[in-house]
C-alpha cells in the first residue's frame, strides 16, 4: 500500500472502538499514519481486549 492511498478506518466488532489509520493511536504506541496491516498481529483492542482479526473495515 502506498502512502498516497487513502487512510482506512477499522472497528472492533465487540465494543465499537475505532482505529483510524490517519490518527493512529499514540497511547497504544501506534503513530499517526500507521496502516492497519502494520499494526502488530498480537495487538488487542485497547477498549475490550478483542483480537485484531475481529476488526472490520468500516466507512465513517
Amino acid at each position: 500500500m502506498s502512502d498516497a492511498e487513502p487512510f482506512l478506518v477499522w472497528q472492533c466488532r465487540t465494543c465499537g472502538y475505532i482505529y483510524e489509520e490517519a490518527q493512529g493511536d499514540p497511547l497504544e504506541g501506534l503513530a499517526p499514519g500507521t496502516r492497519w496491516r502494520d499494526v502488530p498481529d498480537n495487538w488487542i483492542c485497547p477498549s475490550c481486549g478483542t483480537s485484531k482479526p475481529e476488526f472490520d473495515m468500516v466507512e465513517i
Binding site: 472497528q11 465494543c15 465499537g16 475505532i18 497511547l27 477498549s47 475490550c48 481486549g49 465513517i60
Partner: protein
C-alpha cells in the same frame, strides 16, 4: 482469607454510601490481599479480584470465567436458594446479556450491537443535543440552586433512553421509580417498601414485584411493536430473531429491563458525580471552562471516578490460576470495578480527580465480550450535556452535603445540592 470486617464491608450496601469506608476496605485488600477469598456473613466464599490487571485477565477469558452458572451479582446463600426455588433452578431473576454466556450472549448481543455503535448513534446526536439543551435551560430556570442529581441528572439520560426505546414521556416517572426500586432495593429512601431491609423474604419479594411490574409493562410493549413496528429499540427487541426464531419471553423481557434501567441510571450517576467533583475541585472546573477540548478527558475521569457498576460476579468453569492463586472449578469471583479504578498500579494518584489524566484506561464499562453495550450512547449523552452546559455555567459550589445511594451493585449520588451562576 480476607478479614471478616473487611469482607462484610464489601457486600454491605451501606458501605457504598460511605466513600471513605468502601475506599478504605478495597485499599486494604489491594495492598494486603489483592486476590484472596472473602466469606461475608451469610454468603458463600468468593475470590475478590481487586487489581485492575486481574479484572482484565478474568474478563477476557469468557469461556473460563462464566457469567451465568452462578449469581452474576452478590447474593446471600439463603436468597440464592429462594431464587433457584422460584426460577426453576436458575440463580437469576432476569436473563439479560449480563447473565448469558456464549453462544447465547453473542447471538443476543448482535441483535442490538449495531444499533449502539457510534455510526448509528450519529443520526440521533442532534436530537440528544436538543434534549440536553432543554435540561440546561431547566437548570437555568431553577435559579441559582438545585439538586443536580434529582432535578437534572436522574431525568436527562432517562428521557434519552426512553425516547430511543419508544416509551412515552408520560411513563418516564414510572420507569424511573421502578429503576430506583430495583437498583436501590437496599436503600430505604428508594426501595419499594420505603424502609430498611431487615427481612430477606420481604426484600426479595419487593424485587420480584418490581421485576413483575417491568414485565407487565414491556409485555404490552412487545405486543404493540409486533403489530405496529416503529423506528425504536423496543421494535428491534420485539421483532428480533435468534436462529430464525423470536426471542424467548424471559430473555426479551430481560432485554427491555436492562435497557430501561442500566440504560440511564449509570449515566445519571456519572453525570451527578462529575458535577459533584467539579464543585469540589474549582481548579479542575476552571481548567475545563478555559479549554472545552478537555471535555472528553473530563468524561472519562467522571466515569472512572464514579464507577457506577460496583461489581459483577463470575464463576470458574475449570481450575485456573490468576496472580499465582489456584482458583478451583466452580469458584465464585467478585470483579470490583471501583477497586480496579483506584489501583495505584494502573493510575497515578488514583484518589485525585484529574480531568487531564492520560492514559485513563478505567474498567468502569468492564472489559472483554461483556463490555458495556451502551458505552457510546452514555458518552454521547454526557458530551452533549456538558458541551451545552459549560459555556453557560459561570460558577458552581456545593450547597449542602451530597449523599450516595446504598447499594453494592449499581449506584452513585442520590443527592447533589449545588449553588451556581448561569447565563
Amino acid at each position: 482469607m480476607i478479614p471478616q470486617d473487611v469482607a462484610d464491608a464489601i457486600v454491605d450496601p451501606k458501605a457504598y454510601a460511605d466513600q471513605a469506608r468502601i475506599d478504605g476496605a478495597f485499599k486494604w485488600i489491594r495492598e494486603n490481599a489483592p486476590l484472596e477469598q472473602a466469606q461475608p456473613q451469610g454468603f458463600d466464599p468468593f475470590w475478590v479480584v481487586s487489581k485492575h490487571a486481574d479484572i482484565l485477565e478474568v474478563e477476557k477469558q469468557n469461556d473460563l470465567f462464566h457469567n451465568g452458572d452462578r449469581p452474576t451479582t452478590l447474593m446471600p446463600i439463603e436468597m440464592e436458594k429462594k431464587v433457584r426455588a422460584t426460577m426453576g433452578g436458575s440463580p437469576h431473576l432476569v436473563r439479560s446479556l449480563v447473565q448469558m454466556d456464549n453462544p447465547d450472549h453473542m447471538n443476543y448481543r448482535r441483535l442490538t450491537q449495531g444499533w449502539f455503535l457510534p455510526q448509528n448513534l450519529r443520526s440521533r446526536e442532534a436530537r440528544i443535543r436538543e434534549i440536553a439543551k432543554s435540561f440546561v435551560d431547566k437548570m437555568a430556570a431553577c435559579g441559582e440552586r438545585c439538586d443536580f442529581a434529582r432535578d437534572i441528572s436522574f431525568l436527562y439520560p432517562l428521557h434519552v433512553i426512553m425516547e430511543v426505546m419508544g416509551v412515552p414521556e408520560s411513563d418516564e416517572p414510572r420507569m424511573l421509580k421502578l429503576t430506583q426500586e430495583l437498583f436501590g432495593s437496599a436503600d430505604p429512601d428508594l426501595n419499594r417498601n420505603a424502609r430498611a431491609v431487615t427481612d430477606l423474604d420481604e426484600g426479595l419479594k419487593a424485587i420480584q414485584e418490581v421485576v413483575g411490574d417491568f414485565v407487565a409493562y414491556f409485555n404490552a410493549v412487545t405486543e404493540d411493536r409486533r403489530a405496529n413496528p416503529r423506528d425504536d429499540l423496543a421494535s428491534v427487541i420485539a421483532n428480533g430473531k435468534i436462529d430464525g426464531a423470536p426471542l424467548g419471553f424471559f430473555e426479551a423481557m430481560s432485554y427491555y429491563i436492562i435497557a430501561a434501567t442500566a440504560g440511564h441510571d449509570t449515566t445519571s450517576n456519572t453525570t451527578a458525580g462529575g458535577m459533584w467533583a467539579l464543585a469540589e475541585n474549582p481548579d479542575q472546573f476552571a481548567k475545563l471552562k478555559a479549554d472545552r477540548s478537555l471535555i472528553p478527558g473530563f468524561l472519562e475521569e467522571s466515569i472512572r471516578w464514579v464507577t457506577p457498576v460496583k461489581h459483577f460476579m463470575r464463576s470458574a468453569t475449570a481450575d485456573a490460576e490468576v496472580r499465582g492463586q489456584k482458583i478451583a472449578e466452580g469458584d465464585w469471583l467478585m470483579l470490583s470495578y471501583p477497586s480496579g479504578n483506584r489501583d495505584a498500579d494502573a493510575f497515578d494518584r488514583p484518589f485525585d480527580f484529574e480531568i487531564t489524566r492520560s492514559p485513563n484506561k478505567h474498567v468502569a464499562f468492564g472489559y472483554g465480550a461483556h463490555v458495556c453495550l451502551g458505552q457510546h450512547l452514555g458518552r454521547l449523552e454526557m458530551r452533549a450535556l456538558w458541551e451545552e452546559l459549560l459555556p453557560r455555567l459561570e460558577s458552581v459550589e456545593l450547597d449542602g452535603e451530597p449523599r450516595l445511594m446504598q447499594s453494592n451493585f449499581v449506584c452513585g449520588p442520590k443527592s447533589v445540592p449545588i449553588r451556581y451562576k448561569m447565563h
